[in-house]
């Protein structure tokens, strides 16, 4: 940030210097129209180009550095599953892009603040009256600007809310498009989106109007300022108190002062976006404590999804079944003891050992079956094959471990995906296995082989949540969730 400020000041000083040089060249041109004047003019043109290109390069470079630094630590953001209604994690990439614009916006802000220095040049070139005009108009511009800024902030929040609503709804419709079609409601969906979009735009236009009013003010005042300075300087020129060169410097520098304020004004909202994105990039907090005496612990735990108070411990090798009707909060309970959700009261904890978690939502990644199952460690293929057979995954699709899977594990049914996720866990040799309501998506044959397999799985504690049909036949503990 310091370097951004330094660059901001340097670029401003250079632009003032170039304004002065332009003034000298133009006055030269007016007096003699010599070749030196043209050479000077060409030089000014080239110098301006070099300054702006250099600034551009610098912006590109810092953005690259910032992006790189953030992207490297992104995995920390993925430790906790996405909450319902939270936007896709792909948006983190966008947030990073916005944050990366931070330094360049900081240079603009610094330039705008430092442009006050220009007043000294105006004073030197054209005396107190021109300076006074510029100061008064700048003084008028700033409070008006701030007032508009506050108003537009309120509107912008309103707008962001609408917009988030629109995006969530539209994504929901797209993600369930076949259902929308099956229900004969495509046109309804499209109309709904158009209606939300229009109302979003109505608010956006209001916010824009306010934002543009503020830039209207600066534009207006800068225009008036240039005009008045030119007039004052013009009269002093007529009276012979001032040289043309000084007069031109005064006018061009005044224009430059307002230009840098205006540039910042245009990008003002982007700076706020960048700051907001920065706060979105704070990694999620996991509230869980580490337990030492048992593998999984719930101490007087109450979750957000049910009123039941849970108090249980799971020790090595134990079998525990959690039952309750759908919607009673079984999944929330599991997520809470894993530290993915904050409890309402009490606390959940788990030991610092590998834990396998399998649910209907467990997903595969692009790559081969072998990669998916071994997660990058060398595991003999025989062992993988043997495990798949035990889980009743022995059709031809599972014989070649090196075939690349289609994205999202397409081509596998939910029942197969769940068993692959289970195999992935088992191969990582966990101390605890948590099964979140997976029996429902299995056919009777798969269910039978899973029952057999889990019964024989030794040394692993298993915690299963289910509505009424557990895979664990002889549970050590039964926990009921009543809702």
């Amino acid at each position: 940030m310091t370097s951004a400020r330094v660059i901001g000041v340097v670029s401003l000083v250079l632009s003032f210097g170039l304004a002065v040089a332009t003034a000298v060249a133009l006055s030269d041109l007016a007096h003699r129209s010599t070749s030196t004047a043209f050479v000077l003019l060409s030089t000014v043109l080239a110098a301006r180009w070099i300054v702006s290109s250099a600034l551009n390069e610098w912006n590109g470079w810092t953005a690259r550095v910032v992006r790189g630094a953030w992207r490297e630590q992104l995995v920390a953001h993925l430790r906790v599953p996405r909450a319902e209604g939270e936007r896709s994690r792909g948006d983190l990439a966008l947030a990073i892009d916005q944050v990366a614009a931070g330094p360049s916006l900081e240079t603009l802000a610094t330039s705008a603040r430092a442009s006050v220095v220009g007043l000294v040049i105006v004073f030197w070139a054209a005396g107190w009256l021109s300076t006074l005009i510029t100061v008064v108009l700048m003084g008028l511009a700033i409070p008006l600007y701030q007032r508009a800024g506050r108003r537009s902030e309120v509107l912008a929040q309103d707008y962001q809310r609408r917009r988030a609503l629109l995006t969530v709804r539209q994504l929901e419709l797209l993600n369930h498009a076949p259902e929308l079609r099956a229900l004969g409601a495509v046109r309804y969906g499209a109309d709904e989106i158009a209606a939300i979009s229009d109302s979003e735009h109505a608010i956006a236009m209001r916010a824009l109007r306010v934002a543009l009013e503020s830039s209207l003010v600066t534009e207006f005042l800068s225009g008036v300022s240039i005009g008045l300075v030119a007039m004052v300087v013009g009269f002093r020129l007529l009276e012979g108190h001032l040289s043309l060169e000084h007069a031109l410097v005064a006018v061009l520098v005044t224009s430059e002062i307002f230009l840098s304020i205006r540039r910042f004004g245009v990008e003002f909202h982007r700076r706020e976006d960048a700051q907001k994105s920065m706060s979105n990039l704070a990694p999620p907090v996991t509230t869980n404590r580490t337990s030492r005496d048992a593998l999984v612990v719930a101490d007087e735990l109450v979750t957000g999804a049910s009123a039941t108070r849970f108090d249980f411990r799971v020790h090595a090798g134990e079998r525990v079944v959690i039952t309750g009707p759908s919607g009673s909060g079984k999944t929330t309970l599991l997520h809470t003891v894993l530290g993915w959700r904050t409890p309402t009261s009490g606390h959940g904890a788990h030991a610092d050992v590998p834990i396998g978690f399998v649910s209907v939502e467990s997903s595969l990644v692009t790559g081969t079956l072998y990669e998916n199952l071994t997660l990058g460690r060398p595991i003999p293929r025989d062992r993988v094959h043997a495990l798949l057979t035990q889980l009743d995954l022995s059709s031809e699709r599972f014989t070649d471990l090196d075939v690349r899977l289609l994205a999202d594990g397409r081509g596998f049914s939910t029942g197969e995906k769940v068993r692959l996720a289970l195999a992935r866990c088992v191969l990582a040799e966990p101390a605890v296995l948590i099964l979140d309501d997976i029996a429902g998506v299995l056919d009777s044959r798969a269910r039978a082989s899973l029952r057999r397999y889990l019964k024989e799985l030794e040394g692993v504690a298993i915690l299963e949540a289910t509505v009424n049909d557990p895979l664990l036949t002889t549970p050590f503990q039964l926990i009921e969730v009543t809702g």
């Binding site: 007016a30 992104l74 994690r89 797209l174 929308l180 236009m205 399998v358 990644v365 289609l406």
Partner: protein, 533 residues
Amino acid sequence: MNEDLCRLLRWLRRARPPRGELVRAILAGGVASVTGVGLLVGAVALLVQSARRPGLGAVAGVLIIIEVLAFARSPLRFAERLSAHRLGFASVTRWRRWLVASVGRWDYSRWRLHASGDLLDRSLRDTDELQDLWLRFALPFLNTLVTFVLGDVVIALLPPHGKWLAVALWFALLQFLATLLLVSNVTSLVRADRALRHARGAFQASLVELSAVTPELVLLDRASFAAERLEKRRRALALAERLAQRTQRRSLAVPLVAGLVAVQVLWFARPHASPTWVVVVALLAIANADSLATIRVALDTAAAVSGSSERLEALDEHPLLGDAPWPLDTTIQASALRLREDETDLVRQATFTITPGQRVAVVGPSGSGKSTLLRALCGLEPAFAGDVTIGGVRVRDIDETQLRAMVSYVAAEPGLTRGYVRDVLGLGRVSERDSNEDLANLGIHLDGSSRFDELSRGERQRVALARSLVTGPRIIIADEPTSGLTREDTERVLDLLSSTDATIIVATHDERVREWCDETYELVNGELRLLIR
């Protein structure tokens, strides 16, 4: 003209705003830019004039012009920005509606390809970006051209009359050549942008994919697996970003060269005229360089948007929908039906008849293709070979609106269940049933004005079932409607289904549902056969 430019023009045309508004926006923009330049030029001219020919009369004239410009400039800019945004917004609403309507007409298999990863998420952002096509490309580009023309006309009219014509023509030629040069870089910009977007998309898709799996990997102590995968994508993205920047840099010198040449032209071709006008034209030459920089930025935007339009264009075409009326006879017949997915046969040579009012269960191991079969029966999925007919009419030939009202389909993992109960159930359709009563019969007691927020899976299933009955369908097709429900809720679902006299086809693992049905088909390894009880 090359393909990328053609596509840009095509998309500009597709979202073209009303002509009146467009003309207003261009004029406001052009005039605003001219006043901006004019103000500075006028101020300088005033000073030069005062210095060279002291006399109040001459100065006063210029002074009036300057003040008029100073006052008029900002409202003009204001009007220009507002109308430009209005144009952008109007086009984006159009695209959003279009997106839902086109994706909503796709067959399931096509939708499935897009729904994995975050392709749909991205298409959303793409439609949003399309507003930049007008807002940040077309309008600034056209405005700058207007500014060029107006500036050149002013130069041509400077005194002494006719003497400045040569300079004005030279300037026009320069502007034309420089613009052409900038436009010619668009193709490589688009190419670099395509690579960049590809890398960015892969990075984001990988982020989305890993966000689903990383929590489980962290628990398993295998977070490094996720980190390595992301790192690979990150490197590719950084590389593409560099390439894109390099391509943008290629046209960086064009405004500079054009500005320098303009100054040289002025030096050689300037007529014998008042130095005031020489200074004015010199300032305009410098302003030309700035305008060309604006065009450059606009073209960068165009390249960025062209990626969006390219991807959206791929979503565009959709199958023709049928127009045959709903048949009176609702016998469902499949003849030699063959269904394929991901290069595997899920159903081979299936032939069967389901008479009106019959209840049919489809069973089979998971992954055998029951869901695909159900979707083919209600025309959401095309058959690879063979036919599905209702009352002798091919399902895919029946008028879509009537078909959807008469054949309902409940997905295995239903969605669209957030919002006011009335909206969730109604979805703008004509209601034939009392859905509140249906909901109550399913054990969900709510009235139309309450809201569904976070529903559990079992609740979602029941809500979806009640919703599918709203139009009074003659055929109800449901995919695992009772999986994960308690015994009590399963009874409720079956009771509600019994209360209609519609044909019912369910895919199920549930023994109770099977017993409730009249017939059971089993689908194993692509063979569909009727089980004898």
